[in-house]
């Protein structure tokens, strides 16, 4: 190949500020094989792409290099542009002169010299690219959704309603997630259960949704369109097919004082329990840590009470395999733990707020249970220590959030809104009570959101103090809250009966493990990474795996639901095709030089390298060789590095290409 076009992008000022793009274009004209070089303000825009297309046609270019942003950003875009001009899309290379150059260097001379080198390497590579054709593979039209909170439920219903099968996996005994435990929701104050429980029932009854509760994803193999998910169905000790959900068992269970996870320890449950009355499936599970029969071999009352014979103390975890085409991760969030003890070394807690030490200092989700009509007090606001009605309640926002000293620098986004909601819910139930709020800033962007906060202040007379609380102590049954009102410039001391801490949102426990299993990215806070923050907000860098809801970043219910529908939409796009196109940048074996040592067969992580026979026309064995199964190869190139006879090579990253890149630096 010898008619290469180089297209240098300014990216507005993002590249042009630190890289002399004109010089880069001029320099690249000197590289062997370069026919044409141009620069333009926005190469990815339509005029930029049309410039590329026109030049491909006019100069009969047989390869192009676009010097622009990361290939993870726009390689696809420019491959599309090339294809539109009749150039094979795999004859396109990117020189990353933005993320790897202009954004990380200040010195213009050095950055320009580096950019020229990067283009030189890309030109050396593209001259050796092969024209490739996408590989077509069939699509398994079944979706796996991990997490059955409001986001997972929405995505599951959208996909199932469109006519495709869904496998929905939930780790808890019931679907519903965090939303099922909320009281009322901002800014409309509609009851959380009233809007969610019908959707939960739909999920439970949908003919195309296969629901696994008390289950987790053990492993995922395969690739987009053809995943194989292994699901660990944890021992529930209750056969949910036999069980009728009558309740005889849990009413008879003698273990009455187990702190309920659903109530965040504000109420109790039995050892055999359903997490809450509206649970789906409405079938109990046995907590093996608490059950006397499972722990000590005594009791067994639930089995005696069960007329359906559904109790099975010998139940074991089971591993089940499901063929899957696409995966949506909707694992949600947990609250930051306020107390001094933290799960990781990067985080630190607030010992000074006395959470865990004073019974009447609770977090926001605990307060939700306290005001919820389905909560342990039936919606009557009683403080946990003595059951009295609190007359002064202090709400503290940004507990953990936006606090670098505690290890969380981000804003949890929903706390301003739910704190305002909490003051209103409180005032509506305790008319002579007073809500006090300590805040850093009020962030109430959203439809009808700021109006809602104003209502809390103006109609329900919540007192807002802009400032932090330094310490909470307990004296004579009162919580002494010492803080500052920085607008008035005065210290504030409040004798409170109850303190509610709006603690930061963190990704759910184990979401980093899951991300590793799925081979998708996560950020320094553990939130899962989208492929592009603006253009691919629900896709990950692994094809066929999507994310939605609070596992991606702190977000409220409307946003989670919108994102879930977006992810479902992406899955439906995938399922609308009979076949999928797979990246052809995979391994190949030169069978004439292969010595049949099968080192590749042993090292291939996907069992894509296979042993094969080469036969002549009469069917006589000529030799044995290794061969790549195109459907299985993922293109990692491990076989290339282990092949002693240099018979294995990788399209897109061939030895010739890589060595040419390095040699171009001489």
């Amino acid at each position: 190949m010898s008619r290469i076009g180089v297209f240098v992008c300014w990216c507005g000022e993002n590249i042009a500020r630190t890289v002399d793009v004109v010089q880069v274009a001029e320099a690249s004209l000197q590289f062997p094989g370069v026919k044409h070089a141009a620069h333009y303000k926005y190469m990815c825009s339509e005029p930029g792409q049309s410039l590329i297309r026109d030049k491909i046609l006019a100069d009969r270019l047989d390869g192009i290099v676009v010097a622009s942003c990361s290939p993870h950003m726009h390689l696809k875009t420019f491959r599309g542009a090339a294809q539109a001009a009749g150039l094979n899309p795999y004859l396109v290379e990117i020189a990353n002169i933005r993320e790897h150059c202009s954004w990380v260097h200040q010195d213009k001379a050095k950055a320009t010299a580096k950019a020229i080198d990067l283009v030189r390497m890309a030109v050396a590579k593209v001259r050796r690219n092969n024209a490739l054709q996408a590989i077509k593979v069939p699509v398994t039209k079944r979706a796996l959704i991990i997490g059955a909170g409001v986001a997972g439920i929405q995505a599951a219903l959208d996909i199932a309603d469109a006519g495709y099968e869904v496998v929905l996996v939930e780790r808890e005994p019931s679907v519903g997630g965090k939303m099922a435990g909320l009281s009322e929701t901002f800014p409309t104050m509609d009851c959380s259960q009233c809007i969610l429980t019908p959707r939960m029932v739909d999920v439970g009854q949908h003919p195309r949704i296969k629901l696994y509760t008390c289950a987790e994803v053990e492993s995922v193999d395969g690739y987009v369109g053809n995943f194989k998910a292994t699901i660990r169905q944890k021992a529930r000790f209750v056969d949910i097919k036999k069980c009728t959900g009558c309740g005889e068992c849990w009413n008879a269970c003698p273990q009455k004082k187990i702190a309920s996870e659903f109530d965040y320890g504000m109420g109790n449950r039995r050892a055999i329990y359903i997490p809450f009355p509206q649970a789906v499936p409405a079938r109990p599970a046995i907590d093996k840590q608490a059950c006397l029969k499972l722990k000590k071999g005594v009791c067994g009352i639930c089995a005696k009470k069960c007329a359906a014979g559904a109790i099975n103390y010998a139940d074991q975890d089971q591993l089940l395999e499901e063929p899957i085409g696409a995966i949506i991760v909707a694992t949600g969030y947990q609250l930051y733990q306020i107390s001094a003890q933290q799960p990781t070394a990067e985080l630190s807690g607030y010992g000074e707020y006395g959470y865990g030490q004073y019974k009447d200092v609770i977090d926001a989700l605990q307060f939700e249970r306290l005001v919820s009509a389905s909560g342990p007090t039936g919606g009557v606001i009683q403080r946990p220590s003595d059951g009295k009605e609190p007359k002064h309640v202090v709400f503290i926002s940004c507990v953990g959030s936006r606090d670098n000293a505690k290890g969380i620098s981000y804003c949890s986004k929903i706390c301003c809104m739910y704190t305002a909601k909490h003051t209103m819910l409180y005032k509506h139930k305790v008319h002579d009570g007073q809500a006090h709020v300590f805040y850093m800033d009020i962030r109430s962007g959203g439809k009808n959101y700021d109006e809602f906060v104003r209502r809390a202040i103006e109609q329900d007379h919540a007192r807002y103090y802009r400032g932090r609380v330094s310490k909470i102590t307990e004296e004579n049954g009162k919580l002494i809250v010492r803080g500052a009102d920085t607008l008035a410039g005065t210290p504030v001391t409040i004798e409170a009966d109850l303190v509610v801490l709006a603690s930061a949102m963190r990704p759910a426990t184990g979401s980093d493990d899951l991300a590793r299993k799925l081979r998708i990215g996560y950020d320094q806070n553990g939130f899962l990474s989208e492929s592009h923050p603006k253009l691919r907000p629900v896709e990950t860098n692994s094809a066929g795996i999507l994310i939605c809801g609070a596992c991606h970043a702190p977000k409220d219910i409307p946003e989670s639901v919108a994102q879930a529908s977006a992810a479902a939409g992406k899955v439906l796009v995938m399922f609308s095709h009979k076949e999928m196109q797979r990246d052809p940048e995979i391994a190949k074996i030169n069978e004439s030089t292969c010595s049949a040592c099968f080192a590749c067969v042993r090292t291939c992580p996907y069992q894509a390298a296979e042993k094969a026979d080469v036969r002549d026309r009469a069917g006589n064995l000529v030799k044995r060789t290794a061969r790549i199964n195109q459907g299985l190869c993922m293109g990692c190139g491990t076989c290339v590095a282990v092949c002693p006879s240099k018979s294995a090579d990788l399209e897109g990253f061939s030895d010739q290409q890589i060595y040419a890149m390095v040699e171009s630096l001489l």
Binding site: T638, L650, L665
Partner: protein, 149 residues
């Protein structure tokens, strides 16, 4: 690689990185505007498992003063186990290079994930500074003569 106009020694560093972790870590360093010395040239490969260790020698042959191989953390490989193969091969290859007389302080191995933009910045800055102190890798040509490659 073009020499710096001022004539001061500027180390040449070649980094062989995997596409899914370290390349994205370098992208993150970019989006976070984390500055590091402009001496590194990144070669993107799908996986560290793809790295044939002759590439290291090739790097020195074209005048690199230091080389970095970096991929996903053990257990995090996009292709399940490519980085384990790389590590295992490296353990063997390292002894060979050592025996041949290569300066092992000029070959660096790191695990940098897609979330570790800061680590990428630090690793690269450290390598460049360390190499700057060590000076150009002139001894490479001597090894070449000895093993007549």
């Amino acid at each position: 690689m073009s020499a710096h106009p001022t004539g001061v020694f500027e180390p040449k560093v070649i980094a062989y990185v995997c596409n899914w972790c370290t390349y994205l870590g370098a992208d993150l360093a970019g989006t976070s505007r984390l500055e590091y010395p402009a001496n590194v040239r990144i070669v993107r490969l799908p996986c560290t498992g793809r790295i044939d260790f002759n590439l290291l020698i090739k790097g020195f042959e074209v005048g690199a003063d230091a080389i970095l191989v970096s991929g996903c953390h053990p257990g995090d490989c996009h292709y399940t186990s490519g980085n384990f193969h790389a590590r295992r091969r490296w353990i063997l290859f390292r002894q060979l290079l050592d025996t041949m007389g290569f300066d092992m302080n000029r070959i660096h191995f790191a695990w940098i994930s897609a979330a570790e933009g800061k680590k990428f910045q630090h690793v690269l800055t450290d390598i460049v500074e360390q190499t700057r102190r060590m000076g150009p890798y002139a001894a490479y040509s001597k090894i070449c003569e000895e093993v007549s490659c």
